[in-house]
Symmetry: C2
Subunit: 293 residues, 2 copies
């Protein structure tokens, strides 16, 4: 068994190989002046189980091409089984045709990953329905892992929380809040939009009162930080004591981090699916546990 | 029938649709701040024959991803037949495993193009043996077209040539010189390395004397311009009157153009497989003629 780390996930790949107590294959990588990339796997892979770790975060097209080249090379080199772990899965946003004639890029890249040579695929915190329901996107076995419990555990371990509550910023993320809440034996809830009359819309926790409580907001992704900033402000207005802003994928475009801190977050915490300055929690144990089974 | 032009080949795509006297589909294209791209084909494609024109020159990974998205979208939208015309084919360089463990990127991208949804593929002046010999790279019908005749015809039309000769700078390109020479009823030859004793290597035309003749040098690609510059110098030393530097794919990295002009080329001529300042010859009639058949 060996782990192969792509350019976007070299550090994480090493951590995964440590967790699995197996070899971390060194990969020679080059980019030519014309933008073409080159990869070479130095280790013997014939007859081995290989786990490729590669996020397809920015720059997504280069990172996808590198992933395709690694998978196809492993295939050619007769690896016994090829697993792709794509911690951040680029192009997941366009998962259906919103307007006639659109390319459904999520489906396209899924197809390309399979045809490049993956036998199974692991992803982190993609909205569940994208993987599981409707016409199946993946023909090969696909596992959607979650970082929710390790994020809430990180907060619980590093702070003495008072009557903690885990909150999803919208209903779409409620399953993650539930899992994260359960894992630290805390209450959980999600935010809802309540209409007052024709125009006024109020966003609040669905049921729970957050007054004088420590709140962990949990989302799959922080991009521009708009959703997170708004949620923090509302919770502060509702009397929350301390607010922790947690996410699996810290995309953090523009000045997202500054905005969230200014809104009053005690700490912003992400995982290493995307390397960033808030990547304080590693998903290595999560993939290792799932892969071992 | 309709032609779809990718970002790298919009102008050429339009020319191809003119040649074929068919509709040029407008494609909405966007790049998001995270580097992900979006394409949408506005025209009705159901039941239509679609020809996608997209070079995979710089930036190759983005251009390939756009090609994959277009092909998959056409597939989804039930186009009757999907043809991919890839005038410049990125990743053609790595067509075999030179060192153990290398990804054979030419094979990988060929596989991805097919699985994205192409029913047939057209390329320009890829070294013939890559397409035709050995274990087949493409499972779908693949056509390797040549711009050699239109390049030599361009020179013959614009200059009154004296005892013209078409020369390939090495044996690998001799077929193109032969075709280009025949098309303007000129002599043709290729350059060879002749060894004099242990160390001295002389590069000359294999047979023909170029003294006082107009020479068209013809190569598939000009990258750094090293091969072309050397050939021009030698031909000038051998008394050639005028030298024209022609290629199908004007990659022209670094200061290639300046170097070639300084070496004494009368004109540098490329095609529009890669848009450039020397793209004076369009390959549109070549693909149109082949596609019609």
């Amino acid at each position: 068994m060996l782990v192969i780390g792509g350019s976007a996930s070299t550090k994480l790949g090493k951590k995964v190989s440590n967790e699995l107590d197996c070899e971390f294959a060194s990969v020679e990588k080059k980019t030519f002046p014309d933008g073409e990339i080159y990869v070479r796997i130095s280790e013997k892979v014939e007859g081995e189980k290989a786990l490729v770790v590669q996020s397809t975060c920015y720059p997504p097209n280069k990172n996808y091409m590198e992933l395709f080249l690694l998978l196809d090379a492993l295939n050619d080199l007769n690896a016994e089984k090829i697993s792709a772990f794509i911690p951040y899965f680029g192009y997941a946003r366009q998962d259906k045709r919103f307007e006639p004639g659109e390319a459904v890029s999520f489906k396209t890249v899924a197809k390309l990953i399979e045809s490049a040579g993956a036998d199974e695929i692991y992803v982190m915190d993609i909205h569940g329905e994208k993987i599981e329901s409707g016409p199946k996107v993946f023909q090969i076995p696909a596992f959607n892992l979650t970082a929710a419990p390790i994020l809430s555990k990180y907060v619980a371990k590093n702070y003495s929380l008072e009557k903690p509550v885990v909150l999803a910023p919208d209903e779409g993320a409620k399953e993650w809040a539930r899992k994260a809440g359960k894992s630290i034996e805390a209450d959980w809830d999600f935010m809802v939009k309540k209409r007052h009359g024709a125009k006024k819309v109020e966003i609040t926790p669905r049921e729970l009162d957050v007054k004088n409580r420590d709140v962990i907001i949990l989302d799959d992704i922080i991009s521009t930080g708009g959703t997170m900033t708004e949620a923090i402000k509302i919770l502060k207005e509702n009397g929350a004591k301390t607010v922790f802003a947690c996410c699996t994928h810290p995309v953090l475009s523009d000045n997202a981090l500054e905005k969230i801190k200014n809104a009053g977050a005690r700490e912003v915490i992400g995982t290493d699916t995307i390397p960033s300055e808030v990547s304080k929690v590693s998903v290595a144990p999560v993939i290792a546990e799932s892969y071992r089974q």
